[in-house]
């Protein structure tokens, strides 16, 4: 036919793989930097501390990555996490039901709230920012109401805490005491990655973010799939809530608000575009690690806690700006 014309080709620097490589490189640099700055940084216990700190934020970030790829946003994941933790507490401690059932309750709470978000956004056409902002407040309130304004403790069921903080790896490989929560996070990351890249849900996820109207005109039930994606995000928030409750051995109803911002920052630093259509789970996990490594390292070199937020915010802006430059085509 005719010569196959192409728009200005994207060079290697602009490919998706390069973006993740650069993010990983940044993480390595930060690691190296702090190891040089302090001998305490690379100690086993400290690195484990970083891993645990990333567990909750990482799972939240994975879930919200799905939503951001559709071009939407979910501000409610922080308080949903708390609500899920509270529900788990209600099942296990208030109602004395078996631990697995409590965990299930937590997961389903998150999923159901995500489902409600999805319906509000896809059917009622409420903008994602507003719908999830409303849900954020509702979940916050419900957490306080249901818990009676007090933390719920899991002292009667130590197995719950063990599930997160115990170490399966440590019992197999002595000395390698990495808490299970970290394994759960990596497991969730693998599952999220598979969903995003290998299943129909993942495909429609990108399609919706790339051109929702074209997807609708192609005969796809966009309302249904959008709702499914928000439900998925809620499910991950529920998982994060369960992990946090197990880790703290309590459900803290006043915690949660604010966590969503770190999760979104992690996704964006990892290369997920807020305008939709692009993103990877690997990038998100790297982004989550960058944030927790920074926070940990700054603490070790005795930077006051207030300054940590300043650094995180600046890194976020810098990361996105560098990405914009990298993408600029001739």
């Amino acid at each position: 036919m005719t010569k196959s014309e192409a728009a200005p080709k994207r060079n290697l620097l602009q490919s998706d793989a390069m973006q993740r490589l650069l993010a990983f490189g940044a993480l390595t640099l930060i690691f190296v930097g702090f190891s040089i700055a302090s001998s305490n940084f690379l100690k086993f216990d400290n690195v484990v501390g970083i891993l645990i700190a990333t567990a909750v934020n990482g799972v939240l970030a994975l879930g919200v990555t799905f939503v951001i790829i559709t071009g939407g946003i979910d501000l409610s994941i922080g308080t949903l996490m708390t609500l899920s933790a509270v529900m788990t507490g209600v099942f296990i401690t208030f109602w004395q039901l078996p631990v697995p059932l409590g965990i299930l309750a937590g997961l389903l709470t998150g999923a159901f709230a995500g489902f409600v978000n999805g319906v509000l956004i896809s059917r009622l056409k409420i903008p994602p920012f507003i719908a999830t902002l409303g849900m954020l407040n509702i979940a916050k309130g419900l957490s306080l109401v249901i818990s009676g304004l007090k933390p719920i403790y899991f002292n009667d069921t130590p197995v719950f805490n063990q599930m997160a903080m115990g170490s399966m790896l440590g019992s197999i490989f002595p000395g390698f005491d990495i808490p299970n929560a970290v394994l759960i996070m990596f497991g969730a990351a693998i599952v999220a990655h598979l969903i995003l890249t290998k299943t129909v849900v993942g495909r429609y996820n990108f399609a919706l973010g790339s051109n929702e109207e074209a997807t609708r005109l192609s005969g796809v039930n966009t309302n249904m799939w959008k709702t499914a994606i928000y439900t998925l995000c809620g499910l991950f928030a529920g998982l994060a809530g369960v992990i946090m409750a197990a880790r703290l051995n309590s459900a803290q109803p006043a915690l949660g608000a604010g966590y969503e911002l770190d999760a979104i920052a992690a996704a964006v630093i990892g290369g997920t575009s807020l305008s939709g259509g692009e993103g990877t789970m690997l990038g998100t996990i790297i982004g989550a690690f960058i944030i927790s490594t920074l926070n940990n390292g700054l603490r070790i070199i005795s930077v006051p806690q207030e300054w940590q937020s300043v650094v995180t915010g600046s890194i976020l802006i810098l990361a996105v700006y560098l990405d914009i430059i990298r993408r600029r085509r001739q």
Binding site: M1, T2, K3, S4, E5, A6, A7, K9, R10, K198, T199, V200, V201, R203, F206, A207, G209, S210, N211, E213, A214, T215, R216, L217, S218, G219, V220, N221, G277, E278, Q330
Partner: protein, 511 residues
């Protein structure tokens, strides 16, 4: 063959403020190519969108193979065997070609929710081979040019093996060679018994490819003719409800020899190579060339919309430094882009605001207060002067027809009183009636002393309007012709003069 596939009767459809379809009807037989023509706003796209399930009719009947059907959404239409290729591309730029084509019907592995990537790429490759398209199924759609994206849309529609194929302005972004290929495919489909609906403004093309032609006007069905018996004048007559006298191009008034714009040795990477030309006052300078020759890039560089690497620009003899559209406008240069909806108009705003969009500095008072009476009168003046058809100045621009939208963009630049106007494909997507109004407008502007650069891919338009023609090919200016020397052949010769490598395809010139 020859059974009636689709019959639409008494179709009514209205949107807020406009009755798009009034008692419209249409009939499509199998094994025919049926052209659907009409001015912008006539209802042709709307009628076909009703058939394809994009819009739901208010009332009327649709019969498919003799049975009455209700088509509530695009999926229902697809199930019946009706596909549509829209005028605006409906592709997901972040997804690959294969993923776009098979969206909604992805092949899965034995695990029902896991996608089968190998299968999707193979099927797409088979489709491309059938269409003789040299494309890689794994390319991202966003990396292709508009013309190639359009071919992907066509491939997608073909992959449905539908019995009814609707094409809305499919040739707008294609070269002549690609159009020939498309027509080959259409004839193949027709011979297989598919009913093809071809919506287009290009009447000469429709004479080549269609069997019957249906004309619509103002939402009504007018008539259906056999193509071989119809003349173009007859069709135009029915489309506009009046006869338009296509006068032969008059000898244009000689422009003054005053140089308002000089461009010297403009360069930008591989897209603009050592471009130099000048523009006289009162002149219409045609910029011709194949799609992708670099004309839009040159215009955008002069206008400051894109940076350039080297070169000099002189306005009225004075060297100017143009780094942004603001610099260009301050030097009295205006640019009307080829994608007016995306770059020329704020669709969500009304007519008045769009016309004064470039002129706010004239209307601002203390602390930025806008003089609304003055804004109103300026807007009113231009709407009248250019016969823009709109129920009121407060009508949202997105509700106007393409021709009127284009006039609005021109009005915006006239309100700013710019002297150098660069038009990029000024009559794209505009019907015959509005086209001659735009031509008249351009001539008037030139006679008033404004200087015009007109980029166009329609040779008849270039030949008719230009005092001089500059031809570009692959980023270079390959020729400059006076109106006495300019013919379709001479322009084409320069337009295909590639440097170095032998040209493998020489496009045939449309008759």
């Amino acid at each position: 063959m020859d059974e009636v596939l689709v019959s639409m009767e008494g179709i009514n459809k209205s949107f807020p403020g406009v009755n798009a379809l009034i008692d419209a009807k249409f009939e499509l037989r199998s094994g025919e190519v049926h052209a659907l023509v009409g001015e912008n706003g006539a209802g042709k796209s709307t009628l076909m969108k009703v058939l394809a399930g994009v819009y739901v009719k208010d009332s009327g009947h649709i019969y498919y193979k003799g049975k009455e059907v209700e088509i509530h959404n695009p999926r229902a239409a697809q199930h019946l065997g009706i596909s549509i290729i829209h005028q605006e591309l409906n592709l997901m730029p972040h997804l690959t070609l294969a993923q776009n084509i098979f969206i909604g019907r992805e092949p899965v592995t034995r695990l029902k929710f896991v996608l089968d990537e190998k299968s999707i790429n193979q099927k797409t490759q088979d489709l491309f081979d059938m269409m003789r398209l040299k494309l890689d199924p794994r390319t991202k759609v966003g990396d292709l040019t508009v013309a190639m994206q359009q071919m992907v849309e066509i491939a997608k529609a073909l992959s449905f093996n539908s019995e009814v194929l609707i094409m809305d302005e499919p040739t707008a972004a294609l070269t002549d060679a690609e159009i020939d290929e498309l027509f080959r495919l259409i004839r193949q489909l027709r011979d297989r018994g598919v009913g093809v609906v071809h919506i287009s403004h290009r009447l000469e093309e429709l004479k080549q490819i269609s069997d019957r032609i249906t004309v619509m006007r103002d939402g009504h069905y007018i008539d259906t003719l056999l193509t071989k018996e119809a003349t173009i004048d007859q069709i135009i007559n029915m489309m506009v409800g009046r006869t338009i006298f296509e006068t032969s191009p008059e000898v244009p008034e000689k422009p003054s020899s005053n140089l308002v714009l000089e461009v010297k040795h403009l360069n930008r990477g591989n897209v603009i190579k050592d471009v130099s030309f000048n523009l006289k006052q009162g002149e219409i300078l045609g910029f011709s060339g194949l799609v992708g020759a670099g004309r839009t890039e040159v215009a955008r560089a002069i206008f400051g919309a894109d940076p350039y690497e080297s070169g000099e620009i002189y306005v009225n003899g004075k060297k100017v430094d143009i780094k942004s559209p603001r610099d260009a406008v301050n030097n009295s240069i205006a640019y009307l882009s080829e994608d007016r909806k995306r770059y020329g108009l704020a669709l969500g705003l009304d007519c008045e605001n769009n016309i004064i969009l470039a002129s706010f500095s004239k209307l601002m008072g203390f602390l930025g207060w806008v003089d609304s009476a003055k804004a109103h009168s300026i807007a009113e003046h231009f709407v009248k002067a250019m016969s823009i058809k709109t129920p009121s100045l407060q009508q949202l621009v997105k509700n106007l027809s393409g021709g009127n939208q284009q006039k609005l963009v021109i009005g915006k630049w006239l309100a700013k009183n710019t002297n150098i106007l660069i038009f990029d494909e000024p009559t794209r997507g505009i019907d015959v009636g509005a086209k001659s109004e735009i031509y008249r407008l351009l001539n008037e502007l030139a006679q008033e002393g404004k200087s015009i650069i007109m980029i166009s891919s329609e040779l008849p338009e270039i030949l008719r309007m230009s005092h001089r023609v500059v031809v570009m090919c692959e980023g270079r200016i390959t020729g400059e012709l006076d109106y006495t020397e300019a013919t379709q052949e001479s322009i084409m010769k320069f337009a295909t003069q590639r440097s170095g490598i032998v040209a493998t395809d020489v496009p045939s010139v449309a008759a």
